[in-house]
């Protein structure tokens, strides 16, 4: 092909690429704004619809979202909002069918984060939240004989994933001491074995 043809074709391709990149840059900027405004909305009062954290990207197939890799960030944020909506500390709501359904939605979203997120601290936080909801399930179950093991497993998992997760350690300790574990033979043995049974799920530290 001659130079006379190649030059205009090359110029056209470069111009098209420039337009695509400009649109991509614009979408990237919009994601930043959307995440910030979504976080502000999430920090406020919990509403039924929740913050959106979405951007209607100009380019098809949402390339900006993939380039930024915000998929797992959004999943975690949405799961955290679902957790806030499900964990109201209102025994009446938590004991109702509506409360149970809110917990199921939150629990599946948190389990998704635990399975897919690459960030161990976030997975640990999600596991801790899942443990709390599992505990609410136990407390508000109509039959009243739901085992507490799932909560214990989730709190242990949270500590395993992030040894600096103090909230998960405290929750685990509380479950060991106040839950049915204390009343059972195994639970008493566990408590006798270690005075710090919750924290002992993590590696021992060194003293001063």
């Amino acid at each position: 092909m001659s130079r006379r043809i190649l030059l205009p074709v090359g110029a056209g391709v470069c111009a098209a690429a420039a337009v695509v990149l400009a649109l991509l840059a614009r979408d990237v900027g919009r994601w930043q704004d959307a995440i910030r405004s979504g976080d502000v909305a999430a920090a406020g009062h919990v509403r039924a619809e929740g913050p959106a954290w979405t951007v209607d990207e100009t380019l098809p197939f949402a390339p900006a979202k993939h380039v930024l890799g915000v998929g797992d960030d959004l999943d975690f944020r949405r799961a955290a909002v679902l957790f806030r909506r499900a964990y109201t500390r209102d025994p009446e709501l938590e004991g109702s069918s509506n409360g149970a359904q809110l917990r199921i939605r939150a629990e599946t979203a948190l389990a998704h984060v635990i399975r897919t997120d690459a960030n161990l601290r976030r997975r640990s936080a999600a596991s801790n939240m899942l443990g709390i909801l599992a505990l609410v399930d136990v407390v508000s179950a109509p039959s009243g004989n739901v085992p507490i093991d799932r909560s214990v497993f989730e709190f242990q998992d949270a500590v395993r994933l992030d040894r600096s997760n103090e909230a998960a350690k405290a929750n685990l300790e509380l479950v060991y001491q106040q839950g049915s574990f204390g009343g059972s033979v195994r639970g008493r043995e566990r408590l006798q074995r270690s005075a710090h049974s919750g924290a002992s799920s993590s590696a021992p530290g060194s003293g001063y």
Binding site: D75, T108, A111, H112, V138
Partner: protein, 266 residues
């Protein structure tokens, strides 16, 4: 027929190569266009087929709700759904559940083994589960058994297809949460086929399964089985046809230049 007007040229051979190249490019583009259309049709057809029946996982476990809430008026829809499983000719496992569940067919059974079950959902025929087995609906019981079957059979990439009216018992909520979390953790997709479900139940399961890659397909009329999610890309086909039409109009109105050998005058 009158000959097409053409430009007489003396050096016709110099253009012959370019002419052949243009012809080949046109033919190539035409083949690409038609091939693209055929591929779109075949792909969408296959995806629709997979989505409408058993999903893409290997050895799916089908769990069928035979509780009281799935009454006589839904029998025809269940028959149609089961028939679609039979036609899929896949290897499956089969679970029947109400407030408890049992393994009716082990994983790896050919789906045409479901054929004998069809008669129980054909109108007013006797239903062997009605008298003793049918009670409330505990979806967690079916999910737990299906999970155990997949684990025992060491199935990778397994899935569960649950056929129910989705009216789960309120007392099942705690166990359902545990089951759904287990499926989520093990990355086992759940596909629910709602047989004329209540809108609220449908919405609840749709939201609960959203994060786990699961889905809810509803069947509200017997004729709708297999067509619940039409996925044929109508818009794409319209655009392609429109482009082809415009190209044809362009060719007709703004015809390419033709040339012929110049006649030597005496």
């Amino acid at each position: 027929m009158t000959p097409r007007p053409s430009i007489p040229l003396s050096s016709i051979r110099t253009l012959a190569r370019g002419s052949r190249f243009t012809l080949a490019a046109r033919l190539g583009l035409a083949v690409l266009l038609v091939g693209g259309l055929v591929a779109v049709f075949l792909l969408s057809h296959r995806r629709q087929h997979d989505e409408s029946f058993l999903g893409s996982g290997t050895s799916p476990v089908i769990a069928l709700d035979v509780s009281w809430s799935v009454g006589y008026d839904r029998s025809k829809l269940i028959e149609q759904t089961l028939k679609s499983f039979v036609e899929a000719q896949r290897r499956i496992g089969f679970v029947l559940f109400s407030d408890t569940a049992y393994e009716a067919l082990p994983i790896g059974t050919r789906s045409d083994a479901l054929q004998p079950f069809l008669r129980f959902f054909r109108g007013a025929g006797a239903n062997p589960w009605r008298a003793t087995f049918s009670a409330g609906t505990r979806i967690s019981a079916a999910l737990d058994l299906a999970h155990r079957m997949l684990a025992d059979a060491h199935v990778r990439n397994g899935s569960v297809v649950l056929v129910s009216d989705l009216a789960d018992s309120p007392s099942d909520e705690t166990d359902l949460a545990r089951s759904l979390v287990t499926f989520q953790r093990d990355a086992i997709p759940i596909r629910m086929i709602g047989i004329d479900p209540n809108r609220q139940d449908e919405q609840f399961f749709r939201e609960a399964l959203r994060s786990g890659g699961g889905s809810v397909t509803t069947v509200r009329a017997a004729s709708a089985v297999g067509r619940a999610e039409p996925s044929f890309p109508v818009l794409l086909v319209v655009v392609v046809v429109l482009v082809a039409l415009l190209l044809a109009v362009n060719e007709h109105v703004l015809g390419a230049l033709t040339w012929s050998r110049r006649r030597e005058t005496a």
